[in-house]
Symmetry: C2
Subunit: 495 residues, 2 copies
């Protein structure tokens, strides 16, 4: 029974993954500084144990034999997904991985120091090395996976997505945004003439913010029997599906950044909590890639929680708990619907965000294929920023190509996931509106059961049993289509 | 280089141990209930991975070869300790271990239910099975270790300690306590006539109690750069030496039980934090057995923190933080020096505690050798309780032989550690007084540096490089001698 061998291996990998996930959470939430060195050592040993276990040569035989065994559909899906991840894990030599990990660690450290100093020149040699290694990685993976080099990288983050398809929807979206953003800014200016943006009167005590956050998380479906909320420097959703650990951080001068962040992470958390519970050790039962995960957090944040109806339900609670007596829904929406062109991707609103991603998607393809030299990135970046957002980053490396950790850490092919997720979320919402009569009205009453039932049936329960594009097709009846996201933006910002 | 192989294995075992320790802490401190099932599964898989790795047959060859390699003294000590633990880990078949673990889990579950119901009859069959398995374990271990069956069990908790030696010091102590306890109770009654026991005016807010605890922990040397204090249902000291996780629990009606508990656990924590940092993955660099660990917590609690001088330093702080305005040192000492005969070991004071342990030590030897049948335990227990503490447990199983988890969980040979630790702590304190001039005066000033330097040089830095009796001999100049503990009790309670 080779399937039984794979099954047993999956249980061991799941236990190691459980330990790694929880140690990661503990590190961010609880660990005193002095624990860092031994923690890093333990994490590194656990990672190599997991890697060795998951890439052992005899696993190839187990997979071959399991493919010939009499298995049910779920078992077959597990073998397919195990094979996919085995091939992806084993197509790089351990020598190459070690070289790449070391180079990425050095480049990331350098990036942390030099970004603060706006020092591109001293960063460049290390970054050039990272690009060379990414090219090598892409070539090696492409060779095994029979994909283009860039697609072979995308496959690591978002299985089944291909750059031709991504380019198609991104081109559509880019064309749309070119005219949409000026219109949205103009509409916003008109609204502000009528209703100036109002600063809410703080301070907002942390305990109150937490109470409001917990109440809204619970209302939208987060299960605190299988999760909790803590504080960390960078908010995240971590842990394991049976025990999802969410974090936020609080400012006392305003409450929306923490609250919207919590709701965003809650989208990730709901996905994890509602993956199939049985056989959770099988790779086919885990969350599907980065784009799908981001679609769940953005669905929660952008499609549900920034919707006016959400605040019909949430504002009275915020008033009670935070004492926002003179704040109207319109005052609040003016904040959560703010559009502004800016340099920094992570600070961008949902309308301008895709242009930051498209810029990176276009440049990283050229970097991976060698059409763009690493040394020419600042110039190319500046040109695209001027074209897409009307902002120049000439000489401003810190707020230009040095702003993200992804490239210095060797993650090429990741950026599209963010905007794919945003588009998928909008397309999912359109499907919800077709399938769940009165969905928006339910939100206004704080009733998320119908919407969550749709998400559970169409997204969460599918886990990794299909590719991202296939899950989208099954859930929404068509391939990814930029028009839903465009309709969403138009309705929200021009409506 | 077989030593290099062992070294590498030790690093892997340390990483797994790190994960297990931290998952254990998280489970007690943070985990939501719904996380329990998958956590238990992960812990069990990690435990069997560690067991497999640590007991692989080829390790025997590595040890044999390492013994012939050109090693320095520290490396040789590591091999000795590795060999000791390898033999102890491998002398039971995995079939037997599985049988024993299952039986212990069942018996422990039953114990939890039936203790509450005072139901010895339904508990007995499962307990009889546990005793049989303990006899079998003892015989198998004795065979390999060339020790008596009971000594082979003691060796698991307190390497190098032998029952003949334990019996010798326990006999001395038992004789002493027979006359001492009535005298101490009489002296206490006289003191109370002069100064009635005063209840301190609460409530004591948890945040204040925590602030006081943190301040005292810091003062006695706990390093918060490498540790932290949390709350859990059962207080413990867990984590790893580089990141020691302490817990307590608070009542608001009184503060001493939590505070003394924290100081007790801090003794464990100081030991862990001050083990040699380099090569911490070698078994020779880990804390030496249960008796030595208990000696460190009892040194902290009984020898240092229940000493009058400690309160010269601590009471002003307690007054400031908790607002104990009208409490004198005498009022406080009346609480921390209270002697009272009782049924329950864990509630016992330091004077009566040893009799609870000696009773168990005497009975468990007879159980393991078969001289006492499991069914006769209640009668034997009652007889000894009457003889040692003047209390009858006839028909009161719950507060008699069913009060501890140790036997139902299969831990025979563990109990002596508690009282060995108490005696070792008193003997260590006597050695400190000889080596650190004015030690008690330093405590009164809140200066623990000289005392901790002695502990570091003589106990903490020795880790597991020697047996428990050998570390005691080196540290105090003689084998374990009950007279120091007796002197301590006499000085404190009759003085």
């Amino acid at each position: 029974m080779s399937f039984a061998e794979l099954d047993h291996l999956c249980r061991r990998l799941e236990a190691l993954g459980h330990a790694q996930a929880m140690l990661g959470v503990d590190e961010a939430v609880n660990m005193p500084d002095g624990g860092a060195e031994k923690r890093a050592e333990a994490m590194s040993v656990l990672a190599s144990m997991a890697h060795e276990m998951a890439t052992a040569p005899h696993i190839a035989d187990w997979i071959d034999k399991a493919e010939t065994e009499d298995l049910d559909a779920a078992q077959r899906a597990a073998v397919v997904e195990f094979k996919r991840s085995y091939i992806n894990r084993t197509c790089l030599s351990s020598d190459f991985v070690a070289r790449q990990v070391n180079a990425a660690m050095r480049c990331e450290q350098l990036w942390r120091q030099l970004r603060a100093k706006n020092d591109w020149k001293d960063f460049l040699p290390s970054f050039e090395n990272i690009v060379l290694l990414a090219q090598e990685e892409a070539a090696r993976r492409a060779d095994v996976l029979k994909l283009s080099p860039y697609d072979a990288l995308v496959e690591q983050y978002d299985p089944g997505s291909r750059s031709a398809e991504i380019a198609r929807v991104f081109a559509d979206l880019k064309g749309f945004l070119k005219t949409f953003i000026p219109e949205a800014l103009e509409a916003q200016a008109r609204r502000r003439e009528r209703l100036p943006l109002k600063a809410f009167a703080g301070p907002f005590p942390i305990e109150r913010q937490k109470a409001l956050g917990l109440e809204l998380m619970k209302a939208v479906g987060f299960n605190f029997h299988h999760g909790r909320l803590d504080i960390s420097h960078h908010p995240f959703c971590g842990g394991v599906p049976s025990d999802v650990r969410m974090t936020t951080r609080y400012r006392t001068d305003e409450f929306l950044s923490s609250l919207m962040g919590m709701l965003h992470e809650t989208g990730h958390g709901l996905y994890e909590q509602n993956l199939p519970h049985d056989l959770s050790h099988w790779p086919s039962m885990k969350a599907r890639g980065m784009a799908m995960h981001e679609s769940q957090s953005l669905f929660q944040e952008m499609q549900l929680s920034r919707r006016p109806e959400f605040w019909e339900f949430a504002l009275p609670k915020a008033r009670d708990i935070l004492g926002l007596n003179d704040v109207t829904i319109e005052d609040l929406l003016a904040h959560v619907h703010r559009v502004e062109r800016g340099f920094i991707r992570v600070d961008a609103d949902e309308a301008t965000y895709p242009l930051h991603v498209i810029l990176r998607f276009e440049l990283e393809q050229e970097l991976v294929t060698g059409k763009l030299a690493a040394s020419d990135v600042p110039e190319a970046w500046d040109a695209k920023m001027q074209e897409y957002l009307g902002l120049s980053t000439a000489g401003n490396f810190r707020d230009g190509p040095m702003q993200d950790v992804h490239w210095p850490s060797g993650a090429f092919g990741y950026f599209p996931s963010y905007t794919l997720g945003a588009m998928m979320a909008a397309q999912q919402w359109a499907a919800v509106e077709r399938s769940v009569p009165g969905a928006a009205g339910q939100i206004a009453k704080g009733d998320f059961s119908g919407i969550n039932a749709w998400r559970n049936a169409n997204i969460w329960s599918k886990a990794s049993m299909f590719s991202t594009p296939e899950i989208m097709r099954q859930a929404t009846g068509e391939p990814l289509n930029a028009k839903y996201f465009e309709q969403h933006l138009r309705a929200r910002y021009l409506g």
